[in-house]
Amino acid sequence: MLSHFKQKFRIWLFRPKIDQGTVTLTQRRIFILPTKQGLVLGGVLILMLLGDINYVLSLGYVLTFLLAMMAVMSMLHAFRNLAHLQIRAGRVDAVFCGEPAQFMLHFDNPSTLVRHQLWLRDLQGNKVSFDLPAQQVSQVAFSLPTHQRGWVQTGRLSLYTTFPLGLFHAWSYLHFDTQGLVYPKPLPFAPLPVSLAFNEAGKNHVAGEDEFAGLRAYTPGDALPRIAWKAFAREQGLQVKQFSTPVGAALLFDYLHTPERDVEAKLSHLTRWVLDAEAQGLRYGLRLLGSELPADHGVAHRDLCLQQLALFNPPSTMTQKAQP
């Protein structure tokens, strides 16, 4: 019964709901409670006051009251440090599993005050601190470690500050429903499926290994053997060798043709193939259980493939079949 009311009170107080568009931190959205240090100071002040009374220390009263009143005023400063900020959720770039997902948030501070030492923290305890200069829109990246492919969300974030004296914790909840896509983690290395290479005419062809076409800058996910180590030795930075394939040749990456037995490992393998094929400028298609992307190339196509891989949901019967 009591917990029911408690729950109701929390809902009334914190109004948990998904935030849309721009959130303005009004008075209603900012909460303040003393921190542990604040409570300790309270204890110290009570001790001081007892000492003042006992020893009749008039200046002691003055010091005790000064400290207490500074603490009280610091509550107002803490509130002001958050008040009237306008926050909008920004984009979230897709990442490979294991890399942190960066949730961009736009903080508009239209006031003439610098906001010191604000923190964003999620329920798992990931946090980031930042300052907001006056009259500027600042971008803050909240990074979340990823452990699983698919969509990732921050959940409810709390934006808080203990400025200026660390005695009061002023906070507000932000719950944007922005989500980031997490691709499967590519295998470190997997040779492209040679035997599976085909051209439109149906004639087998060695894919993408024909002609050396030049170098391009390394991006994460590139296969190690394709790195131009000689160029690296010449201090030209990490570069990747590119090969061209005869026009018309295309690869089809099929879920069932990956050697692994585990779903995630299969997807990792496919991810590697997609990345390598795209890096080599090949045309490639992707066939998963129940869906197929026709052969194509280009960043958009690659991202589409990766998204399919990220969101792939194996039919339960199929998984059973895969486990003899």
Binding site: V44, M48, L57, S58, L59, V62, F65, H77, D131, G166
Partner: protein, 653 residues
């Protein structure tokens, strides 16, 4: 850790312990200084902190040292010393924000312990400065990226905001008459008049400028030679030292034929003894105290904090005309085997003079005519101190005269006793009150004459009437041994000193002496009914009012509008357009927006495109090169706003 934070912590701790440096054991002060310097150097050269082991050894060793030094681990002095040492050593192991916080709280605590020793105006100003540095240090934790200037500003703002609130609390917070628990024996240092008198005990005091008490006369001011402030009365003499002795049988004093009442207020500095001072002879007192059979006023407990009281004295009186035989016998007792020549002299006088009063005069004449001098640095006296003084050295301070006079009287069989206290006082024209300093300490004699009771006789007056009529400086020719203030400094310095004392007196009365009684008086005078409920509610109202004021002042920055009129007007236009369903996308540039609007609403196209171009030119173009003047553009924009309004009302209808 940020080096700036460390330096500020070092400065904070140094400022906090500096006032203690003088009364701490020397080795503790030196150790603290060394540790502070060591820490500074470590930070400056980016060296690592010393190992945990070394710190533990250092801490244990110094705590051991303190225990040996004080022979105890309890008491205030030990507590303060420990706090200072621990705070200093803690500087050596700051690893997290929590350590910094602990040090800051510790620093605040040490500041308060300094008030045991001094609560003067200078101390108060120093406290504010210390607090400012401590708060700046504190702010480092929550503003790690800010400039130092910003931190100073913030610390200043916090302090300045707290001051009026503190004032309200200070005036209205209900005062409880302390102490809540027993004070340790060493809670207050003792100074001033003692309850024994031996050669040199008063001349030592005469070197001190310290204030004993201050007096405001409410009636007429007595003549200077009547300002005898009565203190301890001494009965017993062991040949060298006078002590109060022990009275087995107590009878309340009896005053008759009183006249010349004097009303006055005394603000007594704490002296850790229980006697209170009043003019001879005290008659009434506003606080609870006892009047002893020898007319001393004793308070219930030692005076450990500044004490205020009103008193009435009568300058003309007959005191204890009927005296107990036991008392008279005490007033005649002399130690056997001392001062044979003095006894002989007294016996000769007694043989010639039967009348006691005339014999007293005889003795005074003797002092006056036998070449006695008044000096602060008399030669030392031998075993027969009175003999030595009366017949050989003939140089002395008031205690020499009082002592030998009483001896003479007792030898001549006249009951007599020594009275110590203060004489006179310095008038402070600024504050209209008298300052009585330790250098005004004095000793005189009282003899008991039948029919008149106890009569005051001041033998010093016979040698150095200047001492009685003026002050010490008038009586002593060679004044090199006197305290500075008593030596008649130049007028300007004197004025300065009087002004300072007047301020200090106000400070003592209103700040340090603001106890439950004074609070009651003050609040009643303001027309407040003094109950704690009223005080607390007024306190709440006052605080709320000021906090509301500060909030308004602080939050005004949040509603700060851009001062750019053009931007303001442009945003107004955008809002108007948003109302008719033409909201600007956040990513849309002004011109792109205008073109989109133009496509959707050809009727608005021409004016809006023009306005947008003007806006771009005025806001982003080279200053002063726009084809359109700001005023012109504003007029245009307002017209356009009206146009949109019209379309809105059209839509509505």
């Amino acid at each position: 850790m940020n080096p700036s934070l460390i330096y500020f912590l070092l400065l904070s701790i140094a400022m906090v312990i500096a006032p203690h440096a003088l009364h701490l054991p020397v080795w503790v002060s030196v150790l603290c200084g060394v540790v502070l310097l060591w820490r500074t150097l470590l930070t400056y050269f980016y060296k690592p902190l010393p190992s945990h082991k070394l710190l533990i050894v250092l801490t244990v060793a110094s705590i051991g040292g303190i225990t040996i030094e004080f022979q105890t681990v309890f008491g205030r002095e030990v507590g303060v010393t420990l706090l200072v040492l621990l705070a200093t050593l803690k500087l050596m192991e700051i690893r997290a924000a929590r350590d910094v916080m602990a040090l800051i709280f510790l620093a605040c605590f040490i500041v308060i312990t300094n008030f045991f020793y001094s609560q003067s105006m200078v101390t108060a100003v120093y406290m504010l400065a210390t607090l400012f540095v401590v708060v700046t240090t504190w702010l480092h934790l929550e503003t790690p990226n800010a400039q130092l200037k910003a931190r100073f500003r913030l610390a200043g703002v916090l302090l300045l905001q707290a001051i009026p609130l503190t004032l309200i609390l200070f005036v209205l917070f209900p005062r409880v008459q302390g102490p809540l628990w027993g004070l340790p024996q060493d809670a207050h240092a003792s100074s001033g008049l003692g309850d024994t008198m031996s050669p040199g005990s008063l001349s030592k005091l005469s070197l001190s400028d310290a204030v004993a008490f201050r007096v405001n006369y409410e009636s007429a001011v007595p003549r200077r030679n009547q300002m005898y402030w009565r203190g301890p009365v001494l009965w017993n003499f062991d040949g060298r030292t006078w002590t109060p002795g022990h009275n087995a049988f107590v009878m309340p004093p009896k005053f008759t034929e009183l006249s010349q009442p004097m009303d006055y207020r005394v603000t007594l500095e704490p002296h850790n003894k229980s006697w209170l001072f009043a003019l001879d002879v005290p008659y009434q007192l506003s606080i609870d105290a006892t009047l002893t059979d020898d007319f001393q006023i004793l308070s219930k407990a030692p005076v450990t904090s500044r004490l205020r009281y009103r008193a009435r004295s009568h300058l003309v009186y007959h005191a204890n005309v009927q005296e107990l035989d036991t008392q008279l016998r005490r007033a005649l007792a002399l130690p056997a085997g001392f001062n044979p020549r003095t006894r002989e002299l007294a016996t000769t006088w007694r043989a010639q003079q039967k009348d006691d009063a005339l014999l007293v005069n005889e003795a005074l004449r003797y002092f006056n005519q036998q070449g006695f001098t008044y000096t602060l640095e008399p030669p030392p006296l031998g075993k027969h101190s009175v003999d030595d003084f009366l017949f050989n050295t003939k140089q002395g301070f008031c205690e020499y005269y009082a002592s030998s006079f009483v001896f003479l009287m007792r030898a001549a069989h006249i009951p007599a006793r020594v009275v110590t206290g203060y004489l006179g006082g310095e008038f402070n024209g600024v504050g209209k009150y008298y300052i009585v300093r330790q250098s005004d300490a004095h000793a005189w004699a009282e003899v008991w004459l039948s029919g008149r009771g106890w009569v005051r006789v001041d033998p010093t007056a016979a040698i150095a009437p200047g001492r009685i009529e003026n002050n010490l400086a008038a009586a002593v020719q060679d004044n090199s041994a006197m305290s500075f203030m008593a030596r008649n400094p130049p007028q300007w310095l004197r004025n300065l000193s009087l002004n300072w004392d007047a301020a200090a007196n106000q400070w003592n009365q209103w700040v340090l002496g603001y106890d439950s009684e004074r609070q009651f008086d003050f609040l009643t005078r303001l027309g407040m009914e003094v109950t704690w409920q009223k005080m607390v509610s007024w306190m709440g109202i006052g605080l709320a009012l000021f906090i509301a004021l500060f909030s308004a002042w602080m939050l005004r920055h949040l509603f700060h509008r851009t001062t750019d009129k053009i931007q303001d007007q442009w945003l107004t236009l955008c809002n108007r357009l948003a109302k008719v369903g033409l909201a600007r996308e956040p990513s849309e540039a002004a011109l792109a927006y205008a073109q989109r609007v133009a496509q959707l609403r050809p009727d608005l196209a021409r004016p809006f495109l023009e306005i947008t171009q003007g806006y771009n030119a005025l806001r982003y173009g080279v200053a002063g090169q726009a084809e359109i003047k700001q005023q012109q553009w504003l007029v245009q924009a307002k017209q356009f706003a009206r146009l949109i309004n019209k379309t809105v009302s059209k839509l509505d209808s």
